[in-house]
Subunit: 315 residues, 2 copies
């Protein structure tokens, strides 16, 4: 029986162990750091935010599965064993959930749900006029599987949608921009959505200079941003500055430069910030464990792996 | 020049007058009650919640336009002139906005946005597990143009969707129930959405007996309801009873038996109620005035009217 290990320092590992035992009765499921057993037995690992140096501790490791779409923590480990394939969870369930999150938060801004919620608290019946979805352009940075799915769903709800990615995509009804056309993309964007992978190129990309290039022609006084990509991409001081000086109308953040977000961060109580705990696309353990088991089976019978990470590209 | 009159006791009539003058330069736009001029000139009226006896005061009226999809206030006027055609605004913009509202509030429940909002207020980083959209069945009562559009969009987001209407509809991917199959429809429904017109048959339909027939097999402890149809359809004391005794998990209400909702209503501050001020599908005045003008032009050249109300059926 091959041994499999979870490296999940920030997640409730019991739930995952139970789900993996159900999905993979053919595997000996172990848990880092307290239930490792003989490390030489471990052939497969599934990780989320693994600390550096942990994965190198399994000398016979054959395959690493990232339990989220982002693999920056794994690739950022300087002692990560070379030549071991890394696959990332990118199943349809995860994509569906990410699109739910994007659609929900775009609609919350568009329909001014926080204003309505505050009115309810105050007992104020105020039916203010609103604009049509078609008056707003949502610009999505990162047009992989998730970005394309969210774009299509937003377009179907009536929003204008534009997309930006390293190489230009072709998606019906969506105007897609390529890497060197970032400024043109930003100038059309009333609501910016980031679904970018975390790479050296995207570190700190959401800064004040970028925010200043966003459209100011939309129905709100200033642009809105939603980050469900990675916290490393946002300069949090710049976002707060822009919210305070009116260069940004509001922000929804699911990711942060440090997670969990420290209690001392001013983002928690900023009146223009909606904040969620890196929960945009948490899939359920059962679905992900079935996916991971499928990848392991593919590996064992020599079938191609899905969503294999390109280490050079960084995702 | 034909004269046109607005009867809008609860709306900001100046905004509407300005929009109608822009959309219809060929009409003499008047306003009830203070800028009526010679009532004999008035051929066209556009109304929202007109008081009884007002419309009969225009002896040469040829056409009445309801500025919302609901015509119950107009038809409820015992002195409403007979044989004058009534059209209701039901343009694509209004349908798009209603679907936005339904999608937004289904997603807010599904993704537990109010719990996340409360956690943000408390500074709590709590990434609790959630379920997939496909684990929830949304049941829509009222499958007209709006219901069908909302159903299709929810299905596209991954929800299971069932529909109920007087006559069974055929919509790809949606299981549709007919009038005599209400109990079967309810037993499958985890989130109930009402978009029913207000008729004698639907008065008080959302009561405790109906709520008790909803599904209890969904991922939440009890069913959820959203009413964006008409307040007359809901028995508010029953909804509060069911929320308090756990027969209902949560409710989103856009409509109320009395509007504006009295300040004394316990709904305002009920922790399980999300409340909006009959704003689910307020279209913008410009769009609606263009639509009304188009109907008047159709009438003048003898073209068929769109969304003509069937007075017997009540919508």
């Amino acid at each position: 029986m091959s041994a499999f290990v979870f490296v999940l320092p920030t997640w409730p590992v019991d739930v995952w162990t139970q789900a993996m035992k159900a999905a993979a009765p053919d595997l000996d499921v172990r848990v880092w750091p307290n239930h490792l057993g003989r490390v030489e037995d471990i052939k497969y690992a599934a990780a989320w935010l693994p600390p550096a140096d942990v994965l190198k501790g399994f000398p016979n490791l054959k395959l690493i599965c990232s339990l989220g779409a982002g693999v920056d923590a794994i690739l950022g480990d300087p002692t990560l064993p070379r030549d071991i394939p890394i696959v990332r969870v990118n199943d349809p369930d995860l994509t569906t959930r990410m699109s739910e999150y994007i659609v929900l938060h775009v609609l919350m801004h568009h329909r001014q749900q926080r204003r309505l919620g505050a009115n309810q608290k105050l007992g104020v019946w105020d039916s203010f006029p609103t604009h049509a979805a078609s008056a707003l352009t949502v610009g999505i940075m990162g047009m992989g599987v998730m970005g394309a799915d969210a774009a299509t769903k937003l377009a179907m709800l009536g929003f204008k949608v534009v997309g930006w990615s390293r190489s230009r995509k072709t998606i019906p009804g969506i105007r897609c921009f390529a890497e060197n056309e970032l400024d043109a993309f930003l100038s059309q964007t009333d609501i910016l959505v980031s679904l970018l992978p975390a790479t050296k190129e995207t570190d700190g990309i959401i800064n004040r200079a970028l925010i200043q290039k966003l459209s100011r022609k939309g129905p709100f006084a200033a642009p809105i941003m939603i980050n469900a990509g990675r916290g490393r991409q946002q300069v949090e001081e710049d976002i707060i500055t822009c919210l305070d000086n009116g260069e940004l109308y509001a922000a929804t953040l699911d990711v942060f430069s440090q997670e969990p977000l420290p209690r001392s961060s001013p983002l928690w109580s900023h009146p223009k910030v909606t904040l969620t705990p890196h929960a945009a696309a948490d899939s359920d353990p059962e679905t992900i464990c079935r996916y991971v088991h499928q990848q392991i089976q593919n590996f064992e019978i020599g079938q191609p792996l899905q969503n294999l990470v390109d280490r050079k590209r960084g995702y």
